[in-house]
Structure formats: structure tokens, C-alpha cells
Symmetry: C2
């Protein structure tokens, strides 16, 4: 019998795995099932489509159906996998369009079901102007909506909420964000998140309400007109975006007896294997190991998904590849402001009971006389005893994103502050100060630690 790799989910991990498996093994039968119509697209680019930075959503497609066909990969969209039968090496698939069900046998199965939007207790299907932003269809619907919209309210000040705020603002809408917690961007520390908030409020007049929640939607003729919050505010809105976060699509796996981690995402080993033979999982639906703490974490990111898809495919096709873990390195561009992070935040260092020291400093990103010079704020953290680096957050109008990856490399190498200071970084006035801001931050941190 021909070997058959079945992949559930055509997002970053699933699509990458299909392509990589084909490269490794030209004889393998490969089938990919996805309940949506579009697969293998850049979900991170949806807000650019709404903002009109990209006019055609087809440009977000990483790999076209034709490309998959050329590579002899069978794609079944609008097909939902509703059950996994591990003992029989079978899945049960529902064709969403004609509502029929059928079984498919697999030799190896890869679960790459990704995430779904966490939706607050509001039945959004009742309203035609309430949206989430996960798929291309969501993007199309929102882009259509804002043609006539004047005032958008976004629930949730995470990455999607903040990026959508930029898109709406640049399309001429008035924008209000309502965030339940006391700060925006919850994976960042409060002092850093507050700088970003100040930028959005003062330089872009985006209104941000923290410590408040939606209590009630006031509607008329299936359209939300106003939002009443817990604190009693009544806010007009003609577009409402729910962006309160995502959760892993792990229920299908769980119901088949596949072990989940404590984060409720699927538990896999370094080779992306679940606890059940011949079943792998990769991408946003699995939990990862944090490289710093060596504990389980769940940080769904496109870069991680792509890597895991590749590693799963290599192992499925007989190679031995390992995924070591994540630092949660991330970058976000909002207007001309970069927001980046790698490793632990102060909050996370506290939770993990590190005895840490911090330096936070705002510096020029290039020679003061060079045109375009801007500030960046670097928050750098190390263990007081071992001097090992723990994490960094870099934000600002200047080149923050190019610095965070230096620290990602340093963290992966388990460097101390002293070792970081030995790194020979490039200098030219157009790109950096004589001593790169990262090293200046490290000098200050080193000094603080030594003076204990």
C-alpha cells in the first residue's frame, strides 16, 4: 500500500509540512484537509489588506492551489475533519458544501489545526457589524464594512487589536480600543506597554480604555449602535471588532485521546510527535518549551509554525529533526513604531522566581547627526547571580526590530551580560551609534549587577 500522509489544517504549519514532505519523498501520497476555503495565506497580512497597503487579498496567498497541484499534493478545502480514529489509522471528514461524511486512511497524520478567536459572551451572529479577524473571509467582510463606517470599537488591545487600530485609523475611522486588563499588549511589561499606549493616544489619537469591559451591546435592526461598558460608559460605534485573543484548536485531538499540555494546547516531543503513534502535531495548536525556563508555554507565532511544519515533515519522512523551543521573539509594526520582545518579560521572570536585574534606557538608534535618527527604548534583563540574559523588550520609532534578533541569538546561546558585551557589532553612522544601543544597555545592566 502507498504511504499516505494526511494533514489537518492548511495554515503555516500544515502547508509548510505538505511542501517539505513532498520535497523529501516524491512517492508519498499527501492529502490536506481544511474547513476553510483559503489555505496557506499570511494571516499576519490581513490588517494590511484592510488598511489598503495591499489591494488584493490574493497577494497574501503564500502558495496557490495550482502550486500544490503541481507538487501532487491533494488539497480538500471546505472539508472539516470531525473525528480521528487512531486505532484504525483513519479520520472522518465532512464535506461542508454537500454535508456528506467519509473516511480516509492515513499512514501518518499531522494535526495542524491552529487557533481560533476567543469570543466573549456576545452572540456576534446576531449583528451584521460585529467582526472577528482570523481568515481572509473575515478580512474581506471588514474591508467592505469600513467603506461606510466612521467609528470603530475594538475589544482587546493585543497584537490584532492594535494592528487593526492602525488599519482603521489610516482608513479614516475614529478608533476606540477597550481592554479588560490594566495594560495593552499583555505579553509586554507595563512600563513598556504604557509607552506604546502613550504613542497611540498622543500621536495618533487612538482612544484606549483599559480596565473596562463590554457589558451590553445596544442595537437596532441587527446593527450594533452603541456599547455599554462595565464602568457605565456608552460608546457609539458602527463597526465592532472582537480581538480578545485566541485559543488552540485542540479539541479534535483531545477527543481522539491525544494528550494536551497544561496550556490546553497539544503536547508534542521535540520531533513533533504526540503521545499516539503515527500522529504528529505542529503549529499554533501545540505547546512549546520556553528556552529560558525550560517549561511549557504557548506562544502561537507564524515563524514557529513554519519551523515546526518543516520539522514534522522531516521526521514523518524518515529524517531526524528537532524543535528546541521558543523565546517568543516577536515584532510588531504599528504606524512607524516598532514593538519587539524576546525571552522573558519582567512579569514572567517574577512568575518564574528569577532573581533578576533590569536596565531600561532610551537611546538614539543611529548617529545623532544622521537624517532619520529616532529613539528606541531598550529594557534588558539578566539573572543577578549567574548574569545570564533573561529577556529584552525594545520599542520605539527607531530601528528596534533589528536589535531584538541580536538578543534572540544571545539568549539562545545562553550568554551572560559580560559575553554580550564581547559581541563585535557593526557600526556605520547610518545604521548605529559607535557602540550599538544594545551594548550600551548591556553596559548599564552589567554595572548594576556588579554593584550589588
Amino acid at each position: 500500500m502507498q504511504e499516505h500522509l494526511v494533514i489537518i489544517g492548511g495554515g503555516a504549519a500544515g502547508a509548510k509540512a505538505a511542501a517539505k514532505a513532498r520535497k523529501q519523498d516524491t512517492d508519498l501520497k499527501i492529502s490536506l484537509y481544511d474547513k476553510n476555503y483559503y489555505i496557506s495565506y499570511s494571516a499576519c497580512g490581513l490588517t494590511y489588506y484592510i488598511e489598503n497597503i495591499i489591494d488584493d487579498y490574493h497577494r497574501l496567498l503564500a502558495r496557490s492551489s495550482e502550486k500544490f497541484k503541481e507538487e501532487n499534493i491533494d488539497i480538500y478545502t471546505k472539508h472539516e475533519v470531525i473525528n480521528i480514529l487512531p486505532n484504525e489509522h483513519k479520520i472522518i471528514v465532512k464535506n461542508i458544501e454537500n454535508n456528506t461524511e467519509f473516511q480516509v486512511e492515513y499512514t501518518k497524520l499531522l494535526i495542524a489545526t491552529g487557533t481560533r478567536a476567543f469570543i466573549p459572551k456576545l452572540d456576534r451572529s446576531n449583528f451584521k457589524n460585529v467582526f472577528i479577524l482570523r481568515t481572509i473571509d473575515d478580512g474581506i467582510a471588514i474591508k467592505n464594512q469600513i467603506l461606510t463606517s466612521k467609528k470603530a470599537v475594538i475589544i482587546g488591545a493585543g497584537f490584532i487589536g492594535i494592528e487593526a487600530a492602525e488599519a482603521f485609523y489610516n482608513r479614516g475611522l475614529e478608533v476606540i480600543i477597550i481592554e479588560a486588563s490594566s495594560q495593552i499588549l499583555s505579553s509586554f511589561d507595563k512600563d513598556i506597554a504604557f509607552q506604546v499606549q502613550e504613542y497611540l493616544e498622543k500621536e495618533k489619537s487612538i482612544k484606549i480604555i483599559t480596565n473596562d469591559r463590554v457589558k451590553k451591546l445596544i442595537s437596532d435592526n441587527n446593527e450594533v449602535k452603541q456599547i455599554e461598558t462595565n464602568s457605565g460608559k456608552i460608546i457609539d460605534a458602527d463597526t465592532l471588532l472582537l480581538a480578545v485573543g485566541v485559543k488552540p484548536n485542540s479539541e479534535l485531538a483531545e477527543s481522539a485521546g491525544i494528550q494536551l499540555g497544561k496550556t490546553k494546547a497539544i503536547k508534542v516531543n521535540e520531533r513533533m510527535q504526540t503521545n499516539i503513534e503515527d500522529i504528529y502535531a505542529a503549529g499554533d495548536c501545540v505547546e512549546q518549551t520556553n528556552i529560558i525556563t525550560q517549561k511549557s508555554t504557548w506562544i502561537p507565532l507564524g515563524s514557529t509554525s513554519n519551523k515546526q511544519g518543516r520539522i514534522a515533515a522531516l521526521n514523518i519522512t524518515g529524517k531526524n529533526a528537532k524543535f528546541k523551543g521558543v523565546l517568543g521573539t516577536l515584532a510588531l509594526k504599528v504606524f512607524n513604531y516598532a514593538i519587539t520582545k524576546t525571552g522573558l518579560s519582567e512579569k514572567e521572570a517574577e512568575e518564574n522566581k528569577y532573581n533578576y536585574e533590569i536596565s531600561t534606557i532610551t537611546l538614539k538608534d543611529r548617529a545623532g547627526y544622521y537624517p532619520g535618527v529616532e529613539n528606541i527604548t531598550i529594557k534588558l534583563m539578566a539573572d543577578k547571580l549567574t548574569k545570564k540574559l533573561l529577556g529584552a523588550q525594545i520599542i520605539g520609532k527607531g530601528d528596534a526590530d533589528k536589535r531584538i534578533n541580536i538578543l534572540a541569538a544571545a539568549l539562545t546561546a545562553n550568554m551572560t551580560v559580560d559575553e554580550l558585551l564581547d559581541v563585535d557589532l557593526s557600526y556605520t553612522p547610518a545604521y548605529s551609534t559607535t557602540i550599538d544601543p544594545v551594548l550600551i544597555a548591556a553596559r548599564i545592566l552589567q554595572k548594576k549587577i556588579k554593584n550589588i
Copy 2:
């Protein structure tokens, strides 16, 4: 007796050392002698001044005389140190303005005499339109000259030659570069240097003549009018810039019995001490240890000078600080093209008899659909046996400079290609592709090595 730190040279290393020593020790008497009028300026910014990106050269001054005065550091400009008497702990200084000589006693001496232009066998003092570019005075003279100049010839296609070419071109001059060797930018590999050359020739119409030398200057009334080359070319020119390289100012040290290295720069240990007690040296006049080969090298760069000045000052004032060595990480921006390097080039790997493998690939620097996307070419090299990274060169119109420093960190950490692939780099469509180009280059290199 009060301790007296005497510093010879007010460039990056000397000025930094003075400031740092003052921070460490408020009682120390600090004197700095420099034969030039301007000290503590960004020599790397001189071409920006010529180009008029910066209108006033005072903006290049990192630390003003007033600032030094405030910090109780005695600055003697237009004072040349002509002799060091180690046994007597004295130097002999000549006041250039009134041509008098005097002696100064030191407790500790720091030699930070930098480099000087290597000048071909042409007596440039005979001609009023032949220049070198080392000091602010040189910059002022050139900027004045090109007000009426139409055609510049630059001898030497190193960093200064290439940067000056941009400045002249953007000021409306026709530019021709004559380079004696077979390629521009000699520290880069030929294939990489050739890409840069092609860019300059095709997109900026800068003429570059390699494998040729100046044979004769044809002049009239103390002005060079034409240049005759070895190959017989006669080239018109009304401005001639000599940029054939620099050499360390180490003769003063050598004549005092201070040991030079095989590179003819001053030999120092990790604490920046020369072989003679109480005499330190730092900056462009000293040789460094190459972190990859652990051999002596001489790569004069402003970033290194600044670090060494700081380390010398820490040791002079009783701390224990070490300079571990260099990767020669460098970045150059020419027009909108970035030229960067860290670690060994292929040429250097060959000279050092490494058994190396290379991947060279041209990739997009961010999501293909994101505005401003540009290509970068990455040449990545590792040892075939140990898989240890050896060096990288990254060039292009895209964000090359932000990637080279990731590799500088990886090289400092002695990472293998496999370990580099474990680094969790950030991803957002505006700044990167899902898998950063650096990691794609590493994947290709890993594959090439494994298939041996």
C-alpha cells in the same frame, strides 16, 4: 604626587578613555595631546559632510572642548608627542603652533595614535586639487573644492573611496574610481564585491576601473588636469582623492621600545597593556585577536576603538576589564545599498586552511507583498567538519545591516549551523519573511554540509 594619565591622540579611543577614566577617578590628572586641531569627532561622518547630508562639521564633534573642560580633562591640540621616554615616565611634546618642545611626566600613558592615510608615491603637496580624507580639515578642503569641480577621480575602492564616490556623485560630479587590485572592497569576497560594483556602475553610473594604477599626473599650474594609468588610459579630472588605505601610527611607540605585532600595529594584551609597564595602547594603532582564528589581525574600526578606549581606562583606573577580540563586523551604506560583513571571508577561510562550505542566496528582506520589499544577498560560511560558523557577508538594497549582527552574536557564541537554526527570530511582514533570510541561508548551508 598626583597620579597623571597622559593620553596621546584624541580620536575615538583616546577621547573615550579620557572620559571613562574621569568617571572612574575624579582625582586623577588627565591630559590629552593631539597634533590636530579637532579631536573627538566622527571620522566616519566626513563623507556625509562633503555630501551635504550634514551642513555643519561641528555636528560631527562627539565631545566638545567645553565638555572636556567641564570634566577637568586638559586638552592640548596642535601638540605633537615626538618621543616617549619609558624609563623616566616622560614624553616629549612639541607645540606645533610656536614650535617649542617640553617634557611631561606621566604615571600611566595611553597611546591612541590611530592611523594615517597610506599615500602612493605622488607628492600631493605639489598640487592644490589632490586630497586625502582623514581629518575635518581634509573634509573642509574637499567640500570647498567640489563647489567648482565637475569630475572626480578616486584612487582606491575601499570604504573611504566608495563612500566618497557617493558623496561626489550626489553633489553632481562625474566619478571615476581607479583600483589597483582586481576587485573593489578587498575585505569582501570577489563575488560579493562584484555585485556591489555592478550596482554602482549600472544604477549610479560611477565608473570603476580595476587592475589599474596611476602612472603619472599631468598637471598645469599646480593643478592636476589628467591622470595617466599603467594601462595607458588618460583620464580628465579636476579633483583627485587618494584613498588607497590606511596604516597604523605605531612608529612613535616602536621607537620607544614598544613591541609591534606582525601587522605592524602595536601589540597589546587583553587589558590593552603594551610590553612596557604603565604604557597602554588602544584604538586603530593596535592589533587585535580575531575571535574565529585566534590569530593577530588589524581591522581598524571606530566601534573597536571606542570599546578599547573604555577598557584601557578601566584597567588604568584599577579595574579589570578585557577586550576579547574582533570579528571585523562592519557595515557600509552606499546610496541605498547596504554592505556588511562579520567573521571570515572565503578568502580568509582559505588562507587559514579551513575546510569550509558556503551558501550564497538572494532573498527578499520582508514579506513579498509588503511595500518597500527589497532583495539581500547572504553569503554564509561554516566549517564542514565541526559545522561551526565562520563568517557571513550580507549586501543589498534590503535590510542587510540588521541581519549581520545576528550572525556576529552567533559567531561570538561559537555556534554551529544547526544551533543557528534553533534561534527564534522575530517575524512580522513589515520586517521579515516568515523564516528570516538568515535562517533560510543556514538551512541551505546545513543541507550542503550534511550531504557531503
